[in-house]
């Protein structure tokens, strides 16, 4: 299971890649493995303003419906339209082509509350017990 070092993580299994004031968000390898076949993704409206922890997108597998939460507050700048036709990209490349949305980070201090790769790994191990 991959947990790239350079990303930040939420306990709810989202990752965020920060470039200046913009963050790219997706779900982790662990999350996609738990979901298995992703068959539908509901993307947020561009321009939507969300608060940290708010449900932004929905990812559905054959059996389940899962909310995707904003790891930080901000404005949705871009969404991965390709997922509408190829939701399976989330399974194939959770940290690459399977990204879900980009967000303009409102308050960079919120990033400090997210987990490092190491801390995230610990949190999923605890969850599995």
């Amino acid at each position: 299971m991959k947990i790239p070092k350079e990303l930040k993580y939420a306990k709810t299994h989202e990752w965020i890649r920060v470039e200046k004031e913009m963050g790219t968000v997706g779900i982790t390898d662990y999350a996609q493995e738990q979901l298995t076949d992703v068959v539908f993704v509901e993307l947020p409206q561009i321009g939507k303003v969300v608060s940290k922890g708010e449900a932004v997108a929905v990812v559905e597998s054959v059996k389940s419906v899962s909310d995707i939460y904003a790891p930080v507050s901000g404005e949705v700048l871009e969404v991965n339209k390709e997922l509408e036709n190829k939701p399976g990209l989330i399974n194939e490349e959770p940290y690459g082509k399977g990204w879900i949305f980009k967000i303009k980070i409102k308050n960079p201090k919120e990033l400090d509350f997210l987990l490092s790769a190491e801390e995230y790994e610990k949190s999923i191990k605890a969850e599995e017990k």
Binding site: T36, D37, V39, F40, E60, S61, V62, K63, V65, E84
Partner: protein
Amino acid sequence: MPKKTPLFEIHKKLGAKIIEFGPWLMPVYYTSVIEEHNTVRNRVGLFDVSHMGEFTIKGKDALVFVQRLITNDTSHLDNNQALYTPICNDKGTIIDDLLVYKFSDERFMLVVNASNIEKDYKWIEEIARRFGKDIVLKDISDETSLLALQGPKSQEILQKVTNLDLSQIKYYWFQEGTVEGSQAIISRTGYTGEDGLEIYIKPEYAPKVWNRILEIGKEEGIKPIGLGARDTLRLECAMLLYGNDIDETKTPLETNIAWAVKFNQEDFIGKEALLKQKEEGVKQRLVGFELIERGIPRHNYPILKDGKRIGIVTSGSFSPTLKKGIGLGYVKADFTKEGTKIQIQIREEPVKARIVKTPFYKRKNA
């Protein structure tokens, strides 16, 4: 304590994701629902469905008793034939749907839903008391395991380990014989819409038979299949799931199993109520629908017509075969016509759908 089938440890070793299904711990998938689904459609898959319940009904009055109990008609059944039927209460609503296996006029086996074992047993006992029939009812669920081998290659594989000539067992017939040297009942039945066989065997032999079938099926690409794919496979064929699509608030006449109510039977539990409903006409009816827009319908999502609520989804999923959202649900009787445009309300948003003929999927050469 959760209940485990005799194959529980084997499922874990095979890497199954285990879920609670009522009191049972069952495999929901081993690798992925879609992969397992396609394996059954194209090749062959093996299911552990040992959580299902089995009762025997024996005695001089067994035939007459079963006739009373079920809405379908056993009078035309030969020995070694099986029959699908609902059983209803006096109001005509559905207590369970099950398979009846007829061994002789004095010996039957009922195969009931896992979640209904206790309820059914009590109900059948009550009916026996009510009519004072000479029958002996026995719950043999704990001494019976059930494996389902489903998919186009099923017969070819099972033939290698049984003394029975499987080509002689027609759809909804069964034989008693051996599998891997152990006593078994084999029927040509299933819940997938593919050709397939179901194997009833003593729990102590289940691991041996399970492992052997997976071994000899390797060349044909056999896979163990979890409850996840079982659900998508049955839904594509519009087969009903008790607790989702039917329960004690629905009558068979409101569903696609109205064919299993035979009013020509002299008498059966629920007949009077069902006759009355037939004369008055049903107010709601089960329909199949497919989504025209992107989205996946789920259990309990509202069904709308021009923004007004006309019904509710009882089963919904992404269909791996058709690659779109499909579902079953009840709508008011005025809206059941094929092609009717409806909407499914998914998270506040109405998503376009239309009523279609079921089954959604039918195998070739069936």
